[in-house]
C-alpha cells in the first residue's frame, strides 16, 4: 500500500450563499497523478485553495506525510512541500523569469538580490526536467505555454513534492497538453505527487492514476480510469445523463453575412496581433475559430464588434461595409455579440435585468421617446425575454450582479438573440458556466444557425468547436493557418495547426 502524502478529512468551507466544500475527503498517494474532476463551480478550486493555504476551511483537517498540518497561509503549505500552479497565472509580466521564481524566497547577497545564483538554479531545474526556460526573459513576452512552465519551475524551485495543477490545459494546444503530460509523468517518476484539476474527460482518462469526481461541493466517487468511461464520468459530474454531442441538421449555406479581408489589428501596446486575416461566414453556418487564447482572438472579435479600431483591411456585414464603424452602426446592421468578458462588455452589474436587456436599444423606441426613458416598455420587454429564455430570477428588477454566471450569460443571450440579427459573434460563450447553461447556449447557437443566421464562434475549447461548427478555421499568432470542413478534420490535425506546427 503506497503511503499517503496528503490526506484531507472533512473539509467544509462556506462562502456567503454557497457551500463550496461539503465535508470533503480527499487523499493523495506517493508518486501518483490524482485527477480531480468536476464542472465549473463544483468546488475543486476551493478545495485546492484550502490545501494551499489561500482559504481557511471552516471544518476539517489536513495531514501531510502522516502529520497533522496547520496551514494558515501559502507560506505554511510551501514549507510543507506543496506547490500550486494556478489556472490564471500568478506571474508578474514586467518581472523576469528569475524575479518571478524567486519572489517570496529571494536569495540575497550583501543586501542585494542575487540574480546570478537564482538564474543558475533555474537553469539546473530546467535541464533536469526538460522545461527549458530562460531566467532572464521578461515573463510578459513569453508565450502562454512557456509561462506555464515558469509556474512549474516556481514550485520545483521550492522543492515541492506535492504539485497541484489547476486546469493547466485550458491555455494549451493538444500538443502542448501532451508535452505537459510527459512532464507530469517525469515528475512522478522522480517522486513528486500530482493533483490534476480539470473538467476535461479525455485528459483525465489519458493521464490519471485515480479520478475523484466532485459535484456541488461534495465528493461523488473515486474511480480508476480503467473501470470507467466518458459517459459515466460525465454522469457523475452533472448528476444526470449528459448529451455529449449536439444534433445538427445539414442544410446548404446561404449568402455570406460576414466577409473579412486582409484584416489587421494592433493591441494596446502597438503590436500587430491580427495579421491580414481573411474569412467568410455564411448565413445558416457556424464558422468556428479554434485556437489557444492569446493568439489574437480577443482583439479580432473586439475589432469586428467596433470596440477596437482595426489598422487595416475591410469588414463587410450583409453586404455593407462596416470597417471601423462605431458599435451602434455595426449592431444596427444586424450583429449580435456574446462577449468574452460578460462582466466587462456585456452587462452593467448594478443595473437591473430590465435595463441590461435594453442596453443596445435603449436609445430608440419603444425604450426611449423624445429623449425620455420609458420604464414600462423596458419592464415589458424584460418580462417577455426572461420567460422566453428561461432566466432564473424572482423579478426583472434584480440587479444583474446577483445572478449566477449562467443566468448572466442568458440575459446577454436573450438580449442579443432576440433582435433581428444576421450574424452572431460568440466569443468563449460557455467559459466558466455549469453544464446545464452550456447545453442551453449550445442549443441556442444551433437554433440561430438553423434559422439562417451566420455564427462566428471563437472558443479555446476544442470540443465545443468540433461539436458546433460546420467549418473550422484555426488561428495561430494572429494568422488563420487553416480553414477546413469540420466533418473532414481530426482533432490531432487541428491540434497541430493550433500549435503552429503546420500550415494547411
Amino acid at each position: 500500500m503506497t503511503e499517503l502524502v496528503l490526506e484531507a478529512k472533512g473539509i467544509t468551507k462556506q462562502f456567503p450563499g454557497v457551500l463550496a466544500s461539503d465535508n470533503v475527503c480527499f487523499d493523495l498517494r506517493q508518486g501518483e497523478i490524482h485527477a480531480l474532476l468536476g464542472e465549473n463551480g463544483a468546488g475543486k478550486s476551493t478545495l485546492m485553495n484550502v490545501l494551499y493555504g489561500l482559504h481557511k476551511a471552516d471544518k476539517g483537517e489536513i495531514m501531510v506525510n502522516g502529520q497533522l498540518a496547520a496551514i494558515q497561509s501559502p507560506k505554511d503549505s510551501i514549507a510543507l512541500g506543496i506547490g500550486m500552479v494556478h489556472q490564471h497565472f500568478m506571474l508578474i509580466p514586467v518581472f523576469t523569469v528569475a524575479e518571478n521564481v524567486m519572489l517570496g524566497d529571494e536569495t540575497v547577497k550583501n543586501g542585494a538580490l542575487d540574480q546570478k545564483t537564482v538564474a543558475a538554479r533555474i537553469n539546473e531545474i530546467s535541464h533536469q526536467y526538460g522545461l527549458d526556460v530562460d531566467p532572464n526573459a521578461l515573463v510578459g513576452s513569453l508565450p502562454v505555454g512557456i509561462q506555464q512552465r515558469v509556474e512549474i519551475v516556481k514550485t520545483l524551485y521550492r522543492n515541492a513534492n506535492i504539485v497541484i495543477l489547476d486546469e493547466p490545459t485550458a491555455v494549451l494546444t493538444p500538443q502542448e497538453a501532451e508535452d505537459l503530460f510527459r512532464i507530469m509523468r517525469d515528475l512522478t517518476a522522480r517522486g513528486v505527487s500530482i493533483i490534476f484539476i480539470t473538467h476535461k474527460l479525455k485528459e483525465v482518462l489519458a493521464v490519471a492514476d485515480r479520478i475523484t469526481v466532485m459535484r456541488a461541493g461534495k465528493v461523488i466517487n473515486t474511480v480508476l480510469p480503467a473501470e470507467t468511461n466518458e459517459a459515466q464520468l460525465a454522469n457523475m459530474m452533472v448528476g444526470r445523463q449528459v448529451i455529449l454531442t449536439v444534433d445538427k441538421k445539414d442544410h446548404p449555406a446561404k449568402d455570406p453575412v460576414l466577409e473579412v479581408g486582409d484584416f489587421c489589428v494592433h493591441d494596446s501596446r502597438g503590436l500587430e496581433v491580427v495579421h491580414r486575416v481573411s474569412f467568410t461566414v455564411h448565413g445558416g453556418e457556424v464558422l468556428g475559430i479554434a485556437g489557444v487564447q492569446g493568439n489574437g482572438q480577443t482583439e479580432l472579435s473586439e475589432a469586428l464588434t467596433g470596440l477596437r479600431l482595426a489598422s487595416g483591411g475591410r469588414v463587410q456585414m450583409a453586404g455593407k461595409d462596416v470597417t471601423n464603424q462605431p458599435p451602434r452602426v455595426i449592431t444596427a446592421t444586424g450583429l449580435a455579440h456574446i462577449p468574452e468578458d460578460r462582466q466587462r462588455h456585456g452587462l452593467v452589474m448594478s443595473y437591473s435585468i430590465g435595463d441590461n436587456m435594453a442596453l443596445c436599444d435603449y436609445y430608440r423606441a419603444p425604450f426611449s421617446k423624445n429623449g425620455m426613458m420609458q420604464p414600462k416598455a423596458l419592464d415589458e420587454n424584460a418580462r417577455q425575454l426572461i420567460q422566453a429564455f428561461d432566466v432564473r430570477t424572482p423579478s426583472s428588477f434584480v440587479n444583474a450582479g446577483k445572478l449566477s454566471g449562467g443566468n448572466q450569460q442568458k440575459v446577454i443571450v436573450a438580449r442579443e438573440l432576440s433582435r433581428d440579427v444576421k450574424l452572431v459573434i460568440a466569443n468563449q460563450p460557455t467559459r466558466g458556466l455549469d453544464v446545464g447553461s452550456i447545453e442551453y447556449i449550445h442549443s441556442e447557437i444551433i437554433k440561430m444557425r438553423d434559422r439562417g443566421v451566420g455564427v462566428l464562434l471563437i472558443s479555446a475549447e476544442l470540443d465545443e468547436i468540433m461539436a458546433l461548427s460546420d467549418r473550422i478555421a484555426v488561428m495561430y499568432r494572429g494568422n488563420i493557418v487553416a480553414t477546413v470542413d469540420a466533418k473532414k478534420v481530426s482533432r490531432e490535425q487541428l491540434g497541430l495547426w493550433m500549435a503552429g506546427a503546420q500550415t494547411a
Partner: protein, 375 residues
C-alpha cells in the same frame, strides 16, 4: 414571477432603500457630533450649550432660517455639481475654480453690459444673461478637463486641481486689475456693484433670502430628472458604472464624459453666479473659499442623490450659520465647526468605519473613481 407580489413589495423596497441610503450618513453625523462634543468638553466648553446655540443660530428665528437658506444655496449648486460628476464616474475637485469663474463672469455681465451696449436693460433680460454667463464660464472651465480626460486620458483629479490654481491666479489678476472697482475709496480686490437690473430680488421683505434659493431647489429637481428620467441621464449613469459596457451599448463615451463635466461645471458656475447676483451684488476675492471642497463632502454625504445633496447642504449651512451664535454663547471658536465638518466627511467617506462601529452589513455597489491614472 408574480406581478401582484411585486407591487406590494415595491413600496417596501422603496422604503428599504431609503433606510439603507440614509442610515450610514445619519450615523456618520451622529458619530461626528459625539466626537465634536468630546472636543468641546476637552477645551472646557459645555457641549449641550454649544449645540443648543448651534441649533438656535441655525433655525431659531425667521432670520435664522433665512440665513441658513442663504448659506445652503451655493452649497446646493456646488454639491449638485460634484454629485452629477460622481454619477458619471468622474471626480470633480474643480468646483472651486469653476465657481470662481462663474462669479467673475456673471459680475462682469452684471456691471459692464449696460455700459457696452449704451443703454439699460430690463431685469428679465439682464439677470438671466448674467446668470447664464456665469454658468457657461464654469461649464467651459470644467469641460476642458472633461475633454482632456476623454481624449487624452489625463486624470480629472489632478487636472481639476491644477485648473483651480489657474483659476485662482486668473481671477486674482482680473479682479485685482482690469475689473477692479475704480472707486477711489476702494482698496480691496473687488468688482464694482452690478446693475439693479442684474440682481435677484429677495423673497420676503426684511430678510436676505432670495429667489436664487428657489432656483437651487429647482436645479436639484432638474438634475434628478435628468439622471433618472432621460435617455441622456441613462447614458451618463452607464458610463459612470461601466465605460466598457457603455461603449458596447453604442454610447459615445468620450462625448458623454465631456458633457458630464460641462454640466457639472455649469452647476458650479451657477453657484458663483447666484452668490453674485443674489447676495453680494459684486464679486470680491476670497469670498468663496472652501465652497468647492465642502461640496465634495456634501455630495458624498448625500450619496450623490439630488435630494441627499439638498439635505446635506442644509446640514452644512446650519453648521456654518449656527456657529456664530454658538461662539457667542460659549466663546468656542468657529473653527471647531470646520473640524466637525471634516470629521463628518471622514466618517461618510469611510463608511466602512461607521459600519464597523455599528455593525452594519454592506450593501450595494460602489462607483469606483480610482481606475488608475489612464494615459
Amino acid at each position: 414571477m408574480q406581478p401582484e407580489k411585486k407591487k406590494s413589495s415595491f413600496a417596501s423596497q422603496v422604503l428599504q432603500s431609503i433606510y439603507e441610503a440614509s442610515v450610514i450618513p445619519f450615523l456618520a453625523i451622529l458619530t461626528s457630533v459625539i466626537i465634536g462634543g468630546l472636543i468641546i468638553k476637552s477645551v472646557g466648553g459645555d457641549p449641550f450649550v454649544a449645540y443648543k446655540g448651534l441649533l438656535q443660530g441655525a433655525f431659531g428665528s425667521a432670520k435664522a432660517w433665512s440665513e441658513t437658506a442663504i448659506w445652503a444655496t451655493p452649497y446646493i449648486f456646488a454639491g449638485l455639481a460634484v454629485a452629477l460628476a460622481f454619477r458619471g464616474g468622474l471626480f470633480n475637485i474643480g468646483a472651486e475654480g469653476q465657481l470662481a469663474f462663474g462669479a467673475v463672469f456673471s459680475a462682469l455681465i452684471g456691471y459692464a453690459l449696460p455700459g457696452w451696449l449704451g443703454f439699460d436693460l430690463p431685469i428679465y433680460i439682464h439677470l438671466p444673461l448674467a446668470i447664464l454667463a456665469g454658468a457657461l464660464a464654469g461649464g467651459i472651465w470644467a469641460a476642458i478637463v472633461g475633454a482632456l480626460k476623454a481624449y487624452t486620458g489625463g486624470h480629472e483629479v489632478i487636472n481639476t486641481i491644477m485648473m483651480n490654481y489657474i483659476a485662482l491666479n486668473m481671477t486674482s489678476f482680473l479682479v485685482g486689475g482690469v475689473m477692479k472697482d475704480k472707486n477711489p475709496l476702494n482698496v480691496i480686490s473687488r468688482t464694482p456693484l452690478i446693475a439693479e437690473s442684474a440682481r435677484i430680488a429677495p423673497i420676503f421683505d426684511g430678510l436676505r433670502i432670495h429667489w436664487g434659493f428657489v432656483l437651487a431647489l429647482v436645479m436639484a429637481f432638474l438634475v434628478w430628472w435628468l439622471l433618472n428620467k432621460t435617455t441622456l441621464g441613462f447614458e451618463i449613469r452607464t458610463v459612470g458604472l461601466n465605460p466598457d459596457a457603455a461603449k458596447y451599448a453604442g454610447i459615445n463615451v468620450k462625448k458623454i464624459i465631456t458633457l458630464t463635466m460641462l454640466f457639472s461645471g455649469i452647476l458650479a458656475g451657477m453657484a458663483g453666479a447666484i452668490e453674485v447676483t443674489g447676495l453680494n451684488y459684486r464679486h470680491e476675492l476670497g469670498f468663496s473659499s472652501g465652497y468647492g471642497y465642502d461640496a465634495i463632502a456634501i455630495a458624498l454625504l448625500g450619496k450623490s442623490h439630488p435630494l441627499g445633496v439638498v439635505l446635506a447642504s442644509f446640514l452644512f449651512a446650519a453648521m456654518r450659520n449656527g456657529a456664530t451664535r454658538m461662539q457667542f454663547l460659549t466663546q468656542l471658536p468657529v473653527d471647531l465647526i470646520s473640524m466637525i465638518q471634516a470629521l463628518v466627511l471622514l466618517f461618510v467617506a469611510a463608511d466602512a468605519i461607521v459600519r464597523y462601529i455599528y455593525r452594519i452589513k454592506a450593501k450595494g455597489e460602489r462607483v469606483t473613481l480610482t481606475r488608475g491614472w489612464g494615459g
